[in-house]
Each structure stands twice: as structure tokens, then as C-alpha cells.
Amino acid sequence: MTTFLKLNFNTVIVPHTVTRHYQLIATGKFDTGVKVPRNFRLLEELEEGQKGVGDGTVSWGLEDDEDMTLTRWTGMIIGPARTNYENRIYSLKVECGPKYPEVPPTVRFVTKISMNGINNSNGMVDARSIPILAKWQNSYSIKVVLQELRRLMMSKENMKLPQPPEGQTYSN
């Protein structure tokens, strides 16, 4: 709760009317034409992550709630059904650098996984093998990345891959 109040300490009491004022500025909804500042974008993503937009099969949020640079994020993917990833929850770390969203974030799996494009020893997602990372657009977002990874889990080449035992993580 402190965070809520913190917001108020530093500003005046901010009712929703004012917030919407701000939101009006930030809402461009990830248009490619409009260059939205990084922090605004990330804040929107944070909000979405907390509200749980989407179908509930991916989740993301700040790794550290106090991180004001909004750089380190954690993500979760629920393994899709009818694949070897089924019933598993995969944890990831996503790092949005200073040039985000102009450049894609770096993504890496924390939970061990066997999948094309994921480095077997450290879980790093190879940006060249994952289409949306390779052809990144600034309208993409963390959510899109997670959803795309999940979609790839369902692809023919991945879905039958034998997986390491559950619950293992990469050591780094």
C-alpha cells in the first residue's frame, strides 16, 4: 500500500481525473507512427501486466517494484496444452533497455526449457531465431513477446521436444 500512498506524497492528491489527463498523453496505444517516450510505454505495460489483459496465459510485471528505470521485468508463460510444455509454468526475465521500444528487449528463460531459439545452457532467447525479435517493431511489447514465445511452443517443431524435468532453472 505504501506505493499507492507514495504516489500521493509526492504529488498532490491525485484523483482519477488528473490521471486520465496524463493517460491521454500516454495513450497512443503503441502506434508505430507516434514516438511514445519509453517510460510512458513501460508504464502502460506495467499497468496491463497488473490488470491481466489478455487471455491469462502470460503474465508480466516488474521484477523489482521499486525499479524506477522500468528495466527489469519478469514474465510467466503457462505452457500450452497438448504440447510437451503443458502444465508447466515458465518463468522468464525480460530486460528493456534504454532504447526500448525502438529496440527489442532481451529475453531469457529462467525455467529450463528445450525449444528452438533458446540457448540450452543459459536460457537466453536468441533474437535472430524468434521472428518478432528479429523483425522488431516499436508497437510490439513485452506481452507480445511472451505470447509469441508461447505460440512458438505450439509449433510443430517445438511441441514434441523432450523437456527437462520440471522445476529446474538455469544457473545464472
Binding site: M1, T2, T3, F4, L5, K6, L7, F9, N10, T11, V12, I13, V14, P15, H16, T17, V18, T19, H21, Y22, Q23, N39, L43, L46, G49, Q50, K51, G52, V53, G54, D55, G56, T57, S59, W60, G61, L62, D65, E66, D67, M68, W73, T74, G75, M76, I78, G79, P80, A81, R82, E86, N87, R88, I89, S91, L92, P165, E166, G167, T169
Partner: protein
């Protein structure tokens, strides 16, 4: 302090037994791949208890539940309160396997032994994503659902806040809108909350360190309540400030009063302002300092080139005022010209509409702007009711006034004296004639028979007999 000010009084009674270990119930939206429900649960319950609720609601086994929120798995040992975002209107996802769950994954050491799985999956119901999930389901809670739009509450984004502040403050209408918002008002009526908020502001903390009076002031619940009343009611606030100014101008007329004020100002207020100023990065009083070169004894005559403002004029013209935080002589009049727009009140409600010479100095204006941009400080600076009565009693009690003015007077004692005066109550301010009774007698004994002129001179010189004599002699040769 971690509590929602908007506790939900009308608790949606949980359909199952209640989880209310405390009075603060929050409603959390829980989504599974198949459906979504709102669960009301006490804020301080643990994740395990939450899972209990969920398992009942979704008819799933508790140890098969995995709760995910914002990319993190909620551990049984945690409490919901640890996840501020959750409280602010997040929704958490659940996955549970109700089918033949695969073996317990041994997640190394977490309190979360359950295997994860999609609820929908084992039952083979189509694609796991639930087709009809409304996108933004905010788990609002109680009265604060509107505020959950703030959403970003999980981090402290200074720049963002500053920006918002600026926007807010540049538009005074917005401010009044905000003040009228019942939510705001309800927050303001909670003195503890206000105090906490004020105290937790790092700027305020610095200010408080330098000036313990501020913390005294904050600790006084009566005062806080009055302050909040004022803050809530801008009209009342303006009225209050106008009264203050009038009281101040009266103060100047008492014998020795002007000097008293001046000294009060230099002793107390300047350090105050330097303290405040450091945060605002500006020294408005450097400009003032240049202006306040007075000859001490007859200040009003030599320096006051500006016409005195009309204290009963529209508040803008008289530079609506608030006192600075320290209860001490912050309401000293400006040392230069006008008494009414006292220097102690740099915070114009509309800082743009300041009238007087001193206030037009750019330093001053920027100070005001900056202070008004920090409304927390502004609130703190409202010690209005306090100061007004103090000044009135000060006005009729010249002894104390001169005592107060002694430069050697340490701040603390000063404060106490003021408090005593304050406690001593309000009396009417006396007319100049009554106040200068003694001086008038002296003057007439010396041969100045024109009582009117004597009175005028005394008023002009603030009761200083010598100065009055000179004045009288100057105007009437012989």
C-alpha cells in the same frame, strides 16, 4: 502506513466463510483459463488463505493451484499485502490442474509444490485461452476503485509525478476541481493520514529537521484539523488569509511594533525560507534583502515608496497569503513596503496575481510558483488560524512583542511564547489612540498641542516618540 483509506465498509460478504482477519477487504479478480471470478478477501491474509478461498470457489484442489501475478508466482507464505499491485487493482491468474496432475514438480525450495496446469487442459476443453475474457477487469476495492486507474502505483516515478504536479499547478482550476472531489475531501478529513503523508515527503522531512517547529505543528492534531478544514475550503482559506493580513497591519502600528516585526522576520523567517528555499532552489529574498535597507528607526517613511495595498480589496490584489510552516513569526510583514501582502506568505493561491513591489521581484515569484507547485508544502504552511489569533494578541500586547523581537531570542522560546499568547486568547485590537495614549500625553507635555497631528505622526512612526517629534517638527517649522 499501508492501509487503504477506503476500507470497504459494505463488505461483500464472502459467500464462503469470511477471510476477514482485519477490516480491510479487497476484491481480487482471479482468472483461470476457463473463467474469472472476483474474490473478496482480507488484505492481510496470506496467500495460502487466498488459495483456500480460490480452491473453494473454483472447485479445485488447493495444492494444485498456482497463483501468478504480474509475472511472479505468489508463494503461500506471503501475504497479499506484500503485493501492492494486487491491492491496487491487479488481477491474478490461477492455473490449476484438476485432471490427473502430473507429479509434483520439485521446484527447488519454494513453498509452491503444486504442479501447474491449465484448468481447461486436462479436461480437454479446446484451446486454453478463454475466449470471452473482458480485457480490463479491474478489481477495484471499495471506494477506491476509481483510483485504481492509477495503476502504476507499484513504482515511484518521480519524474512522472513532477510532471503531473506541474500540470496540476499550472492550472488552478484543476486544483479547485481536485479539492472538490469528495474523495480528496474524505482523505483530507483524516488527520492521521494527512500527517503521515506530509511527514513522508522527503522535502518536508528536510524542512522538519531544520525547523522543529514544523514538527510541533504537525503533531498538534487540533491544528492539523483546522488546516485541513482550510485546505478543503478554499474560500475559507482566503478569508483567513485576509484576516491575517489585516492583523499584521495592525501589528505594525504598535509602538516598537515595526521593529519587532522586522527583527522577527530576520531572525526567524529568513532561516525558514533559506531552508525552504534550498528545496526550491531559489533565493527570492536576495532581491528583498536589497530592498530592505532601512534606517531602522524610521523605516516606513524612507522606504515605503509603494502605495499600501488595499487590504480589503480583492484577494488577488492583496496577494493572498499563507504563512510559512513554522509557527513562529512567519507572518511578519514584509520589511519593505507593504504590510498586508506579508512576505511570510509567498504562497499565493494564484501566484501570478501578486500586486506589490516586493512581490514582483522575479525571485519572489518563482519561489511562489515553486511552492505552489508543491502543494504539500502549501498545506503545511497553513497555520492560519493559529497565526491570526497570535498576531492579534501580539498586537495588543506590546511588551511581549518587544520581547519577542529581541534578536537573541532563541527560536524555541519564541515559539512557546507565541503559543502562550495564542492561548491567551483573542482580544480586540485597540485603536491607535488608545495604544498611543502614553505617547500622546508625552507629546502634549512637550508642547505639541495638535493632538491630531501627534496621532498621525505616532501612527506613521509606529509609536516612536522621537521619530514622531522629528516628523512633527519637520512639517511645522518652529
Amino acid at each position: 502506513m499501508a492501509e487503504n483509506s477506503g476500507t470497504d465498509p459494505a463488505v461483500e460478504t464472502n459467500t464462503e466463510e469470511n477471510a476477514a482477519a482485519s477490516a480491510t477487504i479487497i476484491k481480487v479478480t482471479v482468472k483461470t483459463p476457463k473463467d474469472k471470478e472476483e474474490i473478496a478477501i482480507a488484505e492481510d491474509s496470506s496467500v495460502a488463505q487466498f488459495k483456500e478461498e480460490i480452491s473453494k470457489r473454483f472447485k479445485a484442489k488447493q495444492d494444485q493451484l498456482v497463483l501468478i501475478f504480474a509475472g511472479k508466482i505468489l508463494k503461500d507464505g506471503d501475504t497479499l499485502g506484500q503485493h501492492d499491485d494486487l491491492l491496487l487493482g491487479g488481477s491474478s491468474q490461477t492455473s490449476a490442474s484438476s485432471g490427473p496432475g502430473p507429479s509434483q514438480g520439485n521446484t527447488a525450495g519454494t513453498a509452491n509444490p503444486s504442479p501447474a496446469g491449465n484448468l481447461g487442459t486436462p479436461q480437454g476443453s479446446g484451446p486454453s485461452p478463454t475466449p470471452t475474457q473482458p480485457p480490463n477487469v479491474l478489481a477495484g476495492f471499495g471506494d477506491l476503485s476509481g483510483l485504481s486507474n492509477l495503476g502504476m502505483g507499484s513504482a515511484n516515478f518521480m519524474e512522472l509525478q513532477q510532471q503531473m504536479q506541474r500540470q496540476l499547478m499550472s492550472n488552478p482550476e484543476m486544483l479547485s476541481q481536485i479539492m472538490e472531489n469528495p474523495l480528496v475531501q474524505s482523505m483530507m478529513s483524516n488527520p492521521d493520514l494527512m500527517r503521515q503523508m506530509i511527514v513522508a515527503n522527503p522535502q518536508m522531512q528536510q524542512l522538519m529537521e531544520r525547523n522543529p517547529e514544523i514538527s510541533h505543528m504537525l503533531n498538534n492534531p487540533e491544528l492539523m484539523r483546522q488546516t485541513m478544514e482550510l485546505a478543503r475550503n478554499p474560500a475559507m482559506m482566503q478569508e483567513m488569509m485576509r484576516n491575517q493580513d489585516r492583523a499584521l497591519s495592525n501589528l505594525e502600528s504598535i509602538p516598537g511594533g515595526y521593529n519587532a516585526l522586522r527583527r522577527m522576520y530576520t531572525d526567524i523567517q529568513e532561516p525558514m525560507f533559506s531552508a525552504a528555499r534550498e528545496q526550491f532552489g531559489n533565493n527570492p529574498f536576495s532581491a528583498l534583502g536589497g530592498n530592505t535597507d532601512n534606517s531602522g528607526v524610521q523605516p516606513s517613511r524612507t522606504e515605503n515608496r509603494e502605495p499600501l495595498p488595499n487590504p480589503w480589496g480583492p484577494p488577488d490584489a492583496s496577494a493572498a497569503t499563507t504563512t510559512t510552516a513554522s509557527g513562529t513569526a512567519t507572518t511578519t510583514s514584509s520589511t519593505t513596503s507593504s504590510t498586508t501582502p506579508s512576505v511570510s506568505n509567498p504562497l499565493g493561491i494564484s501566484s501570478s496575481s501578486l500586486g506589490n513591489g516586493m512581490f514582483n521581484s522575479p525571485g519572489m515569484q518563482s519561489l511562489m510558483q515553486q511552492i505552489s507547485e508543491n502543494p504539500q508544502l502549501m498545506q503545511n504552511m497553513l497555520s492560519a488560524p493559529y497565526m491570526r489569533t497570535m498576531m492579534q494578541s501580539l498586537a495588543q500586547n506590546p511588551d511581549i512583542a518587544s520581547q519577542v523581537a529581541r534578536p537573541s531570542f532563541p527560536k524555541q522560546q519564541l515559539m512557546q511564547q507565541m503559543l502562550q499568547m495564542f492561548a491567551g486568547g483573542n482580544a480586540l485590537t485597540q485603536t491607535p489612540e488608545v495604544r498611543f495614549q502614553q505617547q500622546l500625553e508625552q507629546l502634549s507635555a512637550m508642547g505639541f498641542i495638535n493632538r491630531e497631528a501627534n496621532l498621525q505622526a505616532l501612527i506613521a512612526t509606529g509609536g516612536d516618540i522621537n521619530a514622531a517629534i522629528e516628523r512633527l517638527l519637520g512639517s511645522q517649522p518652529s
